[in-house]
Symmetry: C3
Subunit: 150 residues, 3 copies
């Protein structure tokens, strides 16, 4: 059995962990934002939620809360794969001089995506910020596959 | 290039892996619970599912199955970030004497959250168990950002 | 404080990273497929999307786009836990001679699951491919818990 030695540039590690922390903090913030809006608008998901505020409703929806939830789901679809792909990329791609640029571009694109989504900025602002993040993930995962498969 | 050396207290590692395993097992259990309920209630998501049981329905919903799916989505929004944040926290925060307490509190809060959600325990039981887990994630991710950014 | 030494067979590492890359690439592909279908069918999620194409609609759904999104959500529920569980498994289970078989079976089962879901192959094709992946995750997470808890 060979010994696997983690040999990573400390700057790349720090850069990944910084941007992973930022986008995870932003994702957690979506949970909080949903809760705050549900309470202020009294729009909940279960009968027991309505029972607490003395109402007899089974479930209801609100367009802006659904917008927050769509943004949150989009984070799950992009932020979580980014962190997993980022770790694989950092560990297996030799001379990852692009690494920190990728992490930074992804992180900034996701912050812009959230602002654009929640502020209802006209398209194609959201499509472009989404496409940038997706492209970074795609470039990195292809690099990982090239490194371990060939 | 500096060599990154993983230097983690074995107790913290074991504690994280134990709780990560528990909450992931619980999350997998939600998939199984959804499947069991779909089959026993004959409420499916696609026409080919209904075709197998000899029915001609396109798609239908059931309040309790939607409850399980909401609980499952809540797991994805909280359990997955917890594990990613937990690993970052374990690796970069020096003197992580709070680590195992954080992991344990998060794990127990999520087990309570699931029981409360599925048993329809009156609020604010679910809100509190959810808030505890979210707070742990928030505290850890802020510690990570402080460690790598300053 | 003890030093945690990552001591992993390079073949297992390479096998995990290869299949993690494949299933993550497949998951990213779902985002792209949703976007392509939304644009070609002109079915969007927000009023600003419709404004760009000169329509005044708030939100609409399409059965096939919802099918892609269900498949995507199923990936989030299974692929992300697989990678996290796979890393834990690789790190803590001694003599992981089953590791690469698990990773390969999971990866192939998810590729089949996606093809079956999107091509509307009659059941129980989708149920079986889903069950195989879920079983692999279950077996691995139980092994992890046995390794760190006893």
């Amino acid at each position: 059995m060979a010994t696997f030695k983690v040999d990573v540039d400390n700057d790349i590690l720090q850069c990944l962990f910084f941007w992973a922390g930022i986008v995870l903090l932003k994702t957690i913030f979506m949970s909080l934002l949903t809760s705050i809006n549900r309470i202020s608008k009294q729009v909940f998901t279960t009968p027991e939620d309505y029972a607490m505020v003395g109402k007899d409703v089974s479930v209801a929806t609100d367009p802006y809360i659904e917008r927050i939830r769509s943004c949150h789901r989009n984070d799950l679809e992009n932020v979580i794969p980014f962190i997993l792909i980022g770790v694989l990329y950092m560990l297996v791609v030799p001379k990852a001089q692009w690494a920190c640029t990728y992490f930074r571009v992804f992180g900034i694109s996701r912050l812009i995506h959230t602002v654009v989504y929640l502020m209802k900025v006209p398209q194609p602002a959201r499509a472009l910020s989404f496409a940038v993040g997706l492209t970074v993930n795609f470039m990195m995962v292809v690099s990982v596959l090239r490194s371990v498969a060939w």
